[in-house]
Amino acid sequence: MSPRVTRLVLGLAAPLLALVAAFAITSLVLIIAGDPVGGVWSTILQVPAERNMANIINNATVLYLSGLAVAVGFRMNLFNIGVDGQYRVAAFTAAVVAGEAWLPGYLNTALAIVCAMAVGAAWAGIAGVLRATRGVSEVISTIMLNFIATGLVAYLLRKVAVREAGSNEIGTKEIPEGSRIPSIPFSDNPAISLYGFLVIAAFFGFLFWFVLNKTRFGFDLRATGQSTTAAVASGINVTRMTIGALLISGAIAGLVGLPILFGDAYAYGSTFQSGLGFAGIAIALLGRNNPVGIAVGALLFAFLDEQSNPLQIIIGVSPDIVAITQGVIVLTVVVSYEVVRRYGVRLEQRHVARALEQSDEPPAPTAGTGHDESKGVTA
């Protein structure tokens, strides 16, 4: 096999191995729990109806942004666990700004989006400054900031909340109709449509790829992530990069709740979706911090989430099985990439050894290289 074919096969083998292993482990869990394995899989794996398809794409849009936000940090070896708090603070800010409607129409929308990104960046920036100046681990500080975000948003929500008559729910003022982001038609049924924010999310995916791979800043960021000492030696200002990476991560986190806000809920209330930041961590791992991979991971997670209701109602299985499957997939992906990487290294070593046997020349200095990239940042 030519090296290129080998690389392609190995590249496909890792995710395939992961899915097969996840399938096997989840089945084992089902058997132990005494649940109908066949029924569960046939329900999970059925082709979703048009309406569910739209839901999957919409929820994946939200998860995608969360995954991107986490991945920016991962690429620099920073573990931003605070996406959860950042997006809630930001979505609340955007809801208040857009609800107050100080500007007309889409100017209002744009202002709200900018405010959300700024607030998300500022919230993550606190952790960035603490890390850069005081050496506080961003893992600890972002977790703590999540709690503060919960308290702060709950307090402010009560201050500004409006309450519909007869409802026990509180929320911000509804965004005026002119400032909502129009949805993209998905089928003949006008009720089934996609979030217009999908376009913005895709744009940010592209931007992520462009900035990281095609700019000086992106190179510095990746270099710092792979080796801080090497980065310092080559003249990169690590302090600036740390704060910069967390600011960007936070700014993207600020976008996470916005597809829901501008496309569906139109207000931030007590039932606004939570926990998206933690899903983002799993999805960034799943997508190997690559914008296309993250999209695949987001779609997979949204797909599994969507099947949780039929599982309960039609098969009568606990929806926790979906959470277990998601967790198992993340684990198997991490493990199988490592297994395949090692296999690839061994394959190449053997290849080099054979080449050396044939020619009695001194060993080539290139043996065993070419795999540093695949190590990347996995955790």
Partner: protein, 349 residues
Amino acid sequence: MRRTTKLAALLTAGILSLAACGGDDTEASDTPTGGDAPTSDVKVGMAYDVGGRGDQSFNDSAAAGLDQAVEEFGVETQESEAEDGEAETAREERLRTFADAGYNPIIAVGFAYAASVGKVAAEYPEVDFAIIDDESLVDVPNVASLVFAEEQGSFLVGAAAALKSESGNVGFIGGVETPLIQKFEAGYIAGAQAVNPDIEIQSTYLTQIPDFSGFGDPAKGKTAAQGMYDNGADIVYHAAGGSGGGVFEAASESGALAIGVDADQYNTADPSLQGVIMTSMLKNVNVAVYEYLAGVVDGSTPAGVTRYDLAVDGVGYSTSGGQIDDIVGDLDAFKQQIIDGEIEVPTTP
């Protein structure tokens, strides 16, 4: 590596064959149970809030009403529960899945379903819906709203606390600070002050939205209650769902008293803790669910708002354990005044 692959392949093959066996079982277990139990062709879809059946609180109370209907009318049921922090589309899809699978009526337990019930009820005009703790959908013809006057029941247990307190210091612990739980707090404070205007009332909430763990964390409940007892309170009322178990423990360790919520918790508590449960504020979600289903089975599906207040015994207080037998007369006087409108109980603290 090769061994790993082999193992994985073997495992997969084995599991696939087992999976095939599993498939046969499902169809068999789907057949309805026979026997001489009453049967009905009503299929009830029950969408619980976070925690679902087994939360020892609100959802369990709704489940009890459902169980009673199953026993008496033989209705067929299917249940589903919400995930913490789930998407709005997940709630909508839960209701749609029920509707598509032929469940009618569909009961949504909890105010979080308000928006999704509104949306899905419009899509399925031939399906009947009921929602608990929300009356914002009063204009939708196929939605019945089942709401409670929690503040009235809380007023009575507040009055009981003030009558029984020796230290003149009582406490309130809410699970999550939402407008719904604030109704409990407001009623409790009003009731306590109606008896003793100078009474000291400590009040706290375990968590803030969107963190709903305050409804299911006994450790948090115990810490909060312990603080109140240490601070001089001798009776603490909790409206914190599953966290209430911790409140009872703290009361037991401090030699103080506590007031339960939703169901008569004297009956469900561990026998060693029964002594500290002075009374419970009853919010009869089970009665609401049962009466709604009774109407459906009768062919007269309820619609509009049904308010469960003191006048219809939709809320109240329990007397199990006999600790408040001596003040029942006072409490019933308050109850009558509330029913007659002489006392108006506030709904916000």
